[in-house]
């Protein structure tokens, strides 16, 4: 507990957290505007307007639950990126500023230090999730009203989406810590993390759809292996026909987070600090 307090104090006593908070805010506004346009467009469309082979998916997305869940988890796209970067920085800043020596002198039990870092990063992620969710619950209804979509605040599906959103924030922060241990260089880890997150979704989608067109649709199920795709699958408001189930996305992402955390901890236990 002392260790977690120390880790949180490390975060609080530097600029990093509020700089990231300040960056998140305009990004949240940006995604809210985007989602507003999307909600407005989707709610206005008839299923006859889309090609027949996409109709089933479209209908799933068009449900009020799905539209509302999308709004209440607004800001997620950049939010997950931000908490992952914070997770990375929790570790790499120790190497960047050479404070890791002091940290391990104070507490030679490195597993305990890593656990504290994981917990601290997770707490930080929860704070980011809490603030964005609060903002979403305040501003989301305005967007939904404007698009004539019911608020759906009594829907289990919506609250499940909000809960899974929390899980996503948590898991990405843990992934960040793992990346930070494996790539000690602050810049190297940050770039890798961003590529994994952004490039991972865009690049993997492109590659998978090319492969799927050659070898058959089953390839599409491989999107589960890509962390960012697994994550977006997990937090999609409803089950989408033709995609793997939501729980599979969650399982994959949890798997990645656990592997990152464990490999990170084992690595740091053995490493010479010089």
């Amino acid at each position: 507990m002392n260790l977690v307090r120390s880790e949180l104090l490390k975060i609080r006593s530097t600029n990093t957290w509020w700089v990231f908070g300040l960056i998140s805010l305009p990004l949240w506004v940006l995604t809210l505007l985007f989602n507003w346009l999307q909600t407005d467009a989707m709610s206005g469309l008839e299923s006859g307007d889309v090609p027949a082979d996409q109709a089933a998916q479209f209908e799933a997305l068009q449900q009020a639950d799905s539209l509302a869940a999308n709004i209440y988890t607004n800001g997620q796209f950049f939010g997950l990126l931000i908490v992952m970067l914070l997770g990375i920085i929790v570790v790499t800043s120790e190497f960047f500023h050479q404070t890791v020596t002091t940290t391990f002198l104070t507490v030679p039990h490195r597993t305990a230090v890593m656990t504290a870092k994981l917990i601290a990063a997770a707490i930080l992620a929860m704070v980011f999730w809490l603030v964005t969710t609060a903002l979403n619950l305040v501003f989301g209804p305005l967007v939904l009203n404007a698009s004539d979509v019911p608020l759906q605040l009594d829907s289990g599906g919506v609250w499940r989406a909000i809960g899974l959103n929390a899980l996503a924030y948590l898991l990405w922060s843990v992934l960040g810590v793992g990346i930070g241990v494996l790539i000690r260089s602050q810049i190297g880890a940050t770039v890798t993390g961003i590529l994994l997150y952004l490039g991972g979704s865009i690049g993997a989608v492109a590659v998978l759809s090319i492969l799927a067109s050659r070898y058959g649709d089953w390839i599409n199920n491989l999107q589960l292996v890509v962390p960012s795709l697994a994550s977006s699958l997990m937090v999609s408001g409803t089950e989408i026909p033709g995609s793997p189930p939501q729980w599979a996305g969650a399982a994959v992402l949890i798997g990645y987070a656990v592997v990152a955390g464990v490999i990170g901890t084992l690595t740091i236990r053995r490493r010479d600090i010089s």
């Binding site: 104090l9 990093t16 002091t102």
Partner: protein
């Protein structure tokens, strides 16, 4: 509090035994053994690359030894329950987050070590940094950074202090402060191990020295003893306007006399009192009669000669 602190074996003695660190192609530390006694300042000397820092880092569980052991008060560092209450270490001056204030740097450590928060203020006051408490680390001078490092090491009021090149970058005032501070700590019965390559400073500061080169022990012992063991000790500088007469007298007493480029006589084989008495008897006027103190630098260079630092 741990059992270790109370047990009789925990007297603050540092014991390094057969310590070895093999990197890919370099044996940085090679079967090194020495002990460091409490109540004294021990200088840990060696050319650059001799393995000083690696040794200290193995002692502190930051680097895993390839062989051998290093204990503090009979315990491995990793086995200490409250390490900061036993051992304080200053390893690199620049080890704090640039954007964190000095006081917050110490509070972070206090929190992790379970020490009361006010220890941070007390430690800052101890090293005279209180006025800069709320300044960010990036605004600190090198001397202030060293002081902050020492404050961090003193948070747990440890019995044992380990410092790696603490005098680096300090101005003369800072060096004098450090010397007084460390001597004071040793005087209180604490163990103080200081690595350095500033030999003149070590001669003023250290009671004992451990000299290593190329990862191996070269010499260990009290400073006087190490100095006295060397060949050029025991010479006496003599200046006189009647050099020829004095040389003749001294040679009769089977002393060896050399003359340096300034005409100063360097006498070996006779101590200062013998020379003085001989000069008086021969009615030779003396302007200087100084037993030459061997200095650590010369001894060090002689001991480590040919053991290049770059391997």
């Amino acid at each position: 509090m741990s059992d270790g602190q109370r047990s009789p074996t925990s007297n603050g003695q540092i014991v390094v035994s057969g310590l070895t660190k093999q990197y890919k192609s370099v044996r940085a530390v090679d079967n090194l053994s020495f002990t460091v006694a409490p109540g004294r300042v021990t200088g840990f000397l060696g050319p650059n690359g001799a393995g000083k820092t690696t040794t200290l880092r193995m002692l502190l569980n930051l680097v895993t030894p390839s062989g051998g052991s290093a204990t503090i008060g009979g315990h491995r560092y990793a086995d200490l329950t409250d390490p900061l209450r036993h051992v304080g270490a200053v390893l690199e001056a620049s080890s704090a987050h640039k954007g964190r204030t000095g006081i917050n740097h110490l509070r972070v450590i206090c929190a992790a070590a379970g020490l009361p928060k006010q220890r941070a203020e007390e430690a800052l006051a101890l090293v005279g940094l209180t006025p800069a408490a709320k300044r960010k680390f990036k605004g600190y001078s090198l001397g202030m950074k060293q002081r902050l490092g020492i404050a961090a090491a003193m948070l747990g009021d440890p019995r044992v202090l380990i410092l790696d090149e603490p005098a680096n970058g300090l101005d003369p005032e800072g060096i004098r402060w450090m010397r007084g501070f460390l001597k004071g700590l040793a005087h209180e019965g604490r163990t103080v191990l200081v690595s350095s390559h500033l030999l003149s400073e070590m001669q003023l500061l250290a009671d004992d020295v451990v000299i290593i080169a190329a990862g191996k022990l070269v010499r260990q012992g009290p400073v006087d003893q190490v100095l006295g063991s060397m060949a050029q000790s025991g010479r006496v500088r003599v200046r006189t306007p009647q050099a020829e007469e004095l040389v003749a007298v001294l040679r009769e007493q089977s002393a060896t006399v050399e003359t340096d480029e300034h005409g100063v006589l360097l006498v070996s084989g006779a101590d200062a009192s013998t020379i003085g008495r001989a000069a008086l008897a021969a009615k030779v006027e003396l302007h200087e009669l100084t037993p030459e103190r061997p200095d650590l630098e010369r001894v060090f260079l002689e001991l480590t000669a040919g053991k290049a630092g770059i391997r």
